[in-house]
Symmetry: C2
Subunit: 351 residues, 2 copies
DNA sequence: GCTTCAATTGTAAGCGCTTTCATTTTTTAT
DNA sequence: ATAAAAAATGAAAGCGCTTACAATTGAAGC
């Protein structure tokens, strides 16, 4: 006697009802279930006549492929796990958008999870995605150690790390040259005549925060301007910390005619503080951001910033996966992208 | 002879290696696989001693639960499918963030897909998510018909529609009172003395675009100001269309001292155009947006707008699912939320 | 017509887990 | 101590699909 399962007599949900199986289709079409599977997946060979028979049967029965069962049997889920620090804000969405667009065409799906820049949570999320047997992971993680990621790769986990470069698994990384970006920003300020340049850094425990600062320092060094901690404030990539940064800098008596910020949010915050203090942008103080998020151009004046080809990086991560994991050929990607300067209205030569 | 499967001798990926099964764990622990399943899922009863035995065995073997197999057997995937129009921008990410936060605590995951406001694509995505046997869907869809969604619900698909209200399945909808929001915005302008109010609408084929305009019209009517198409421009919710809107309005000779926009992006775009034309905000023209996205406060002056409790709506969608589909109790949600006015610096009384 | 080989289809063994039902063990009550 | 009830465990039948291999059919060559 067959077991009765999944019973919930009170409310029939979709999954409890209407579960037409491949078996039923095969019977209706008068073929074996293997053949039905073949037409569904377009594998093997099947005569045109048979295919039509099967298609008709599927349509008449309202068959819906059960991807879960298929995944178990084939050991492929066609699902990519994606860990991002947060979902809100303009940045991660744009990046995921780039990935999604590329994956959608290949009929892959994205299972997303947030890591909240917390090593513990990041690990749990990676674990969960692995348990769900994602074919590959795209990791935008900030707190977990390099070693941990290297280990994962050595265990055979197919993953690509974005916005972070780890030498040992460089092939699995796709990142922006943040040092160069930091350099470009400050170099621009120096080039137009500034020498007193404040710097509002991102969280320095994050690789990008650190690297952008390094770039800033290199630019100063290149131009023979001495770097001083007194002109640097460590923010946390949030707008508010930009505001606080300016206030703190001013409070400690720092003198500057320009301020470089590690991202656009903080630059916005800085601009707000500057205005509060009666300093005009860019006449009194020049401001430069980083990322070129969508709203950078909405500010007034438009924010001069460093372009982070975020969508491109997102799509490259997808291409990496498509090529490496699914064997799709001719997908192009590079491992380190270059930032570039976007001139708008918040920078000008000092008076 | 057992079949050999899943073979790819050249490169062993994670899923091909290290596949410890429940069976192996059960043997190592000297219990049946049913018992191992019980400790994993914390179901049924198992003696503390046995539990420890199993736990140890799992740890020693490095067991990882195979959620795909579990899903097939239990007919539950613990996955929620989420269709959003787009991934980029500040709006959808914030909403998904609200959902994710609530779902993460319940150990559910989100499979995301984008519909691009295209009925065909939206349907395909819904289909794909159903094939992946999501336990529930959260649909932020704009192009698909009400009827289609009603049908889905009648078929037993567990779904919640966000940002859209459909009478017949009102219980499955969580939305903002957009009419009220539109009303609030224009009413504010009227209250502070404006009577010549231009309106830059969102796409009118979308419910929210239409409803916000309706609210605007109601406010005018309430205050005895006649509505005229000449003062209305249909944009598409993108910043650029705000810019174009102002230009078009001015080009057609419309006279206005204030402009209400159907979202913050278009308001930003409008402000840019206004400045280009030498009109000061708010001295010459007041501007009000809608949504209160994160960057609204970064603009200068800060954008007066209507708050869309986006994160809250996101989390309510999650609560709906948790309660309805997973039987978690005491989850609170309401079906129609109220917008409210956020006063910042872009509106003032006409001179 | 008879081989030979390729194209097509079927058979059935899993994939790794959950869950019903039966069985065994333990506890409680008498 | 013993019966009855409760707790713990095990056996095994699926979940719906894929796929290796075998079997069949069809076409081509002689």
């Amino acid at each position: 006697m067959p077991l009765k399962r999944h019973g919930n007599p009170s409310r029939k949900t979709y999954s409890e009802v209407n579960m037409v199986t491949i078996k039923q289709v095969s019977e209706k079409a008068g073929v074996s279930s293997a053949t039905v599977s073949r037409v569904i997946n377009n594998t093997g060979t099947v005569k045109e006549k048979t295919r039509e028979l099967v298609m008709t049967a599927m349509a008449e029965l309202g068959y819906r492929h059960n991807v879960v069962a298929a995944s178990l049997a084939s050991n492929k889920t066609h699902t990519i796990g994606y860990v991002v620090p947060e979902l809100h804000g303009s940045f991660f969405g744009a990046m995921m958008g780039g990935t999604e667009q590329a994956l959608r065409q290949a009929k892959k799906h994205m299972l997303i999870a947030t890591g909240h820049s917390d090593a513990q949570i990041e690990k749990e999320q990676i674990d969960a995605l692995l348990s769900r047997r994602c074919d590959a992971l795209i990791l935008h993680v900030e707190a977990v150690s390099d070693e941990y990621l290297v280990n994962l790769v050595h265990q055979g986990v197919e993953l690509v790390v974005v916005n972070r470069f780890i030498e040992e698994i460089g092939d699995n990384c796709i990142s922006l040259d943040n040092v160069k970006g930091g350099y470009l920003a400050s170099r621009h300020l120096l080039d137009i005549g500034h020498t007193q340049i404040a710097y509002i850094a991102g969280s320095l425990f994050k690789a990008d925060g650190k690297n952008r600062l390094t770039g800033h320092q290199q630019a100063l060094a290149d131009m023979g301007v001495e770097y001083t901690d007194n002109l640097t404030y460590e923010g946390n990539f949030q707008a508010k910390s930009g505001t606080e940064g300016i206030r703190a800098l001013v409070a400690r008596g720092a003198k500057f005619t320009a301020v470089a910020c590690a991202n656009d949010e903080m630059a916005s915050g800085a601009m707000i503080a500057l205005r509060e203090l009666g300093r005009r942008v860019p006449e009194d103080v020049s401001v430069i951001g980083f990322d070129n998020v969508d709203f950078a151009s909405y500010l007034s004046p438009g924010l001069t910033t460093i372009d982070y080809p975020v969508q491109k990086i997102g799509s490259m991560a997808a291409h990496w996966v498509l090529e490496r994991v699914y064997g799709h050929t001719r997908h192009e990607y590079q491992h380190i992208l270059s930032p570039r300067l976007i001139l708008r209205g918040t920078t000008s030569s000092p008076e």
